[in-house]
């Protein structure tokens, strides 16, 4: 009997040819048996999404199928008339998009969207479909499965939406499930349980799955076999075990190499900790900040409460926390974009004025902000040399030859060829944009560099290379870094000191090696536990730990009473943690934890 899915040297090119010399997909062949999970891995631009979509007989606008076959249970999808293709989609093959937030129609109720396809294809009656949906919600561990369908997408959390999309995909009992980076947009803590849910439900439905990702450690958890895709061609093809442990090709090894080691204190030299001066380069004192009218009490949303952090000269402070914990806000306050409500920002001991306008140009020049999304941070209508040139004119009045020289230097610093100065942002890849973004900040020759999620939008290899770059910069210059990320391993691999932020509160901070070693704050522990490892079975192992068990995706609530982590905390003490604000426990060596539990208990 034939495999469930067979792709025979498929070629996909840009419509009208000319536009792109190299085909996007170039003679790819692979096959996938029923009930099997095949991981499709590759960096951005490798064409993995395009390949995945071909299994629905769909090519994105601007692309077209040139050659080859895509056979599902033997019949060629590409050859099907439009109508048949339509009936195939959502019924025999269904698709799980990367960002559920974008893929759910904001104007329609969730239930309707989940059941729509299967009802329309006449597989189920509306009532059957609803029942099936409810079962799926339950299977996916979603809260309040009976009424979930009546809600609108904006009324549920990101992690839940991601799982709801799985329900949407599975509702029609498809033979093949295509998952396109389904967890990339999620926080680590959310990621594991979504991952788990997917894994279970796929098993239980007995559907085959094509799992597209750039993250090997995810693959390790869920896939049976792996296809490594590079520049539209299959680089390597084998079982998870083979690929992970006996990689053949250069690129595959590179991929594995790029996987950041799980955070581990032992990896770090003790020495760094001692070299801290008394006057930090940057210090933030009992800072409270938020949005809404300042003095009107109550109306304001406090995003940060009594935050106190410091960065030593030439050191790097890593700020970690889930989305919405206020880490970006911290950066905005330091930069002056968002004036603080209370508290001070001290540069070399001297307080800065809260708002941009009041700060002197000299001070502004010393603190530079590297924004998260290079796409938004670089004005698409300015060439690279304009982008880099402006700070040079603005702060140092450079012009002409001098300026050009410096621009070339900067490009060199971020490892970009000089001729890039002629390009527009949209002519650059994501990684290149991020480097330009960085170079612009460096152009001001700052003392403090605020890096807000600079690598979270990039895939592994590129991310790794950016971190390498940052490390080099830190050694060459004595710039101090505030490195903000939701990715603990990234922080671990870069930061000297770490501050763990939860719901606007610093729950633990100190030298990296201390924070990453027991005693942990329960939340820190959860974070560490959630970082996926490049070993099969890790997922199951972690999920057995009660920390993670306990912390199954719950809404983060920002509260003034008690400990905000209370509802998720495995060690929570009822009556105390939800009533009194936790005390700050100083453990020496600048290491402190904010918790009711004693050091020993932790």
């Amino acid at each position: 009997m034939p495999a469930l899915l067979e792709i025979d040297n498929l070629v996909i090119e840009a419509a009208g040819g000319g536009a792109s010399p190299a085909p996007v997909i170039n003679g790819v062949s692979l096959q996938l048996d029923a009930g099997e999970v095949l991981a499709l891995i590759g960096e951005s631009g490798s064409g993995k999404t395009t390949l995945a979509l071909s299994t629905l007989g769909y090519a994105k606008p601007g692309l077209e199928f040139r050659a080859g076959e895509v056979r599902l249970n033997g019949d060629d999808i590409l050859a099907m008339p439009a109508d048949e293709k339509r009936r195939l989609r959502g019924q025999r093959v269904s698709y799980l998009a990367q960002s559920a937030a974008a893929a759910f129609n904001p104007a329609l109720r969730i239930g309707a969207q989940v059941t729509e396809a299967s009802v329309l294809h006449g597989q189920l009656s509306q009532t059957e479909a609803d029942r099936r949906a409810t079962d799926l919600y339950r299977a996916l561990g979603l809260p309040d499965p009976d009424h979930l369908g009546r809600r609108y997408p904006h009324q549920v959390s990101g992690g839940q939406l991601q799982r709801l999309m799985a329900a949407m995909a599975l509702c029609g009992k498809p033979d093949l499930l295509v998952l396109d980076e389904p967890t990339t947009a999620l926080d680590v803590t959310t990621q594991i349980e979504v991952l788990k849910a997917f894994k279970d439900v796929i098993r239980q439905e007995g559907a085959a799955a094509l799992y597209v990702t750039h993250d090997l450690s995810i693959v390790a958890q869920i896939a049976d076999r792996i296809v490594v895709l590079y520049a539209g061609e299959v680089e390597e093809y084998g079982t998870v075990d083979d690929i992970l442990n006996r990689p053949q090709h250069r690129y595959t090894r590179q991929l594995i190499g790029a996987v950041r080691p799980p955070p581990d204190s032992t990896l770090r030299p003790e020495s760094l900790e001692e070299t801290r001066q008394d006057v930090p380069a940057l210090e933030v004192k009992d800072l409270t900040a938020g949005y809404g009218r300042k003095h009107a009490s109550g109306h304001t949303v406090k995003v940060l409460r009594d935050v106190h952090v410091a960065v030593g000269q030439g050191r790097s402070l890593g700020v970690i926390g889930e989305s919405g914990c206020g880490k970006s806000t911290l950066a905005r306050v330091i930069s002056g974009l968002l004036p603080a409500m209370q508290g001070d920002v001290l540069l070399k001991g001297q307080p800065l004025k809260p708002s941009l306008r009041q700060r002197e140009r000299r001070q502004l020049q010393k603190i530079q902000f590297v924004f998260q999304m290079a796409d938004n941070a670089l004005n698409p209508h300015q060439r690279v040399d304009q982008l880099l040139g402006r700070p040079l004119e603005f702060y140092f009045g450079l012009s002409g030859e001098e300026k050009r020289q410096r621009i070339t230097e900067l490009l060199h610093m971020v490892e970009l060829p000089a001729e890039f100065s002629e390009r527009y942002p949209e002519e650059l890849s994501g990684g290149q944009k991020q480097r330009v973004n960085l170079a612009r900040a460096l152009a001001a020759s700052p003392e403090i560099l605020l890096c807000d999620e600079v690598i979270s939008a990039l895939d592994t290899i590129i991310g790794a290379s950016i971190i390498q770059l940052l490390k080099r910069l830190r050694e060459q210059t004595d710039v101090s870094f505030v490195f903000i990320s939701h990715d603990l391993s990234a922080i671990a691999s870069f930061a000297d000191d770490i501050a763990v932020l939860y719901a606007g509160l610093v729950v633990e901070q100190g030298p990296a090696n201390r924070v990453l070693a027991p005693p942990y704050h329960p939340y820190t522990r959860l974070l560490i536990a959630s970082v996926p490892e490049l070993s099969q079975g890790w997922l199951e192992r972690t999920l057995e730990m009660r920390e993670t068990q306990a912390s199954i995706d719950r809404a983060v609530e920002i509260t003034d009473r008690g400990c905000p982590f209370y509802r998720r905390c495995p060690l929570a003490i009822a009556g105390t943690c939800n009533q009194e604000a936790p005390p700050l426990r100083n453990l020496g060596h600048g290491h402190s934890i904010t918790c009711h539990r004693s050091e020993a208990e932790l």
Partner: protein, 312 residues
């Protein structure tokens, strides 16, 4: 790391369910768009050379002698509403003037006035629009209210009042029209302005310590040009029609100057006689309108049609 045309970047997770295609920088015109451009270019040239290629002066009453039939000896043949002939290639109007000549002269007034008004409208609208977007809450709301008030007034009425007050000289017409249409430009400019003001690259400029003026000039304006350009076309057409509407009420361009709208109006009496005098200028307007919008469609298509919710 080369970026192929289709770049399914796993990166752009936040921007779309399925990673999106990179926009192409070069703006490509469809066949329709190209024809549009040709027509526009034709009229533009007419604006400059029209009077010289025109067989007669726009105000000239053609001499009856030109039309005397050899056969019958009528010394004074009718010269009005003549069908196209070898004297007047597009026939004559209600006063026996050459339609073609008036059409060519008219191109100058019609397009000239409309273009000038549109440009002015943009100058005013964009300036105020950005001021509102960048100038803080108070300025914004006061400007917006004022603008709503102007918008709420029926344009023709506004035109009547102003023209009754200041007469219908070209400067007045242009000032009036540009003011009326500046209000709709304001809305769009403000909408775009607000979008751009909150973008990261503007924040980046602010963190750098840039002044508002620089930010507007260098960060905000460039991003508005293309989308506004495609609105420009529509606006331009509305202004031509608005002027023709005024001419219906006798408030339009001065005689003997010919603008297409008035030409249609003044020759309506010929319609029952099957005269083409009123249809020719109407066709001219239509040709320009369609042409412009074909181009506009291409531009905004290139721009991802993001105008829709802003141009209303």
């Amino acid at each position: 790391m080369s970026t192929p045309v289709n770049n399914p970047t796993g990166e752009s997770g936040q921007t779309g369910a399925i990673s999106e295609e990179q926009p192409r920088r070069s703006l490509k015109f469809s066949g329709a768009g190209k024809t549009g451009i040709v027509v526009i270019l034709f009229w533009i040239t007419m604006v400059f050379i029209g009077p010289w290629v025109a067989p007669f002066h726009e105000a000239e009453f053609l001499d009856e002698a030109l039309f005397i039939e050899p056969g019958l000896d009528d010394p004074y043949p009718a010269t009005d509403f003549l069908p196209p002939g070898d004297v007047a290639y597009l026939g004559t109007d209600y006063l026996g003037r050459d339609t073609l000549s008036r059409l060519l002269y008219g191109a100058r007034t019609t397009i000239g006035v409309s273009l000038l008004s549109t440009l002015l409208a943009y100058l005013i609208g964009i300036t105020l629009g950005i001021a509102a977007a960048a100038g803080g809450r108070v300025l914004d709301s006061s400007l917006s209210r004022l603008n709503d008030a102007v918008l709420s007034m029926p344009t023709i009425m506004l035109g009547m009042v102003v023209i009754s007050a200041y007469g219908s000289t070209l400067p007045v017409l242009i000032a009036l029209t540009s003011l009326i249409y500046a209000s709709s430009v304001f809305r769009i400019a403000r909408a775009f302005g607000l979008d751009i003001m909150v973008s990261d690259f503007v924040d980046a400029a602010r963190v750098r310590g840039e002044g508002l003026g620089w930010i507007i000039r260098r960060e905000v304006l460039p991003g508005m040009i293309l989308p506004m350009a495609s609105d420009f076309g529509l606006r331009f057409v509305y202004i031509i029609l608005f002027l023709s509407g005024l001419s219906f009420l006798g408030l339009g361009v001065q005689p003997p100057q010919s603008d297409w709208g008035s030409m249609v109006r003044e020759n309506l009496a010929g319609l029952p006689y099957g005269a083409i005098a009123p249809l020719i200028p109407a066709l001219a307007i239509a040709s320009l309108t369609v042409a412009i919008n074909l181009v506009v469609d291409d531009i905004s298509a290139h721009h991802g049609g993001k105008l829709a919710e802003k141009i209303i």
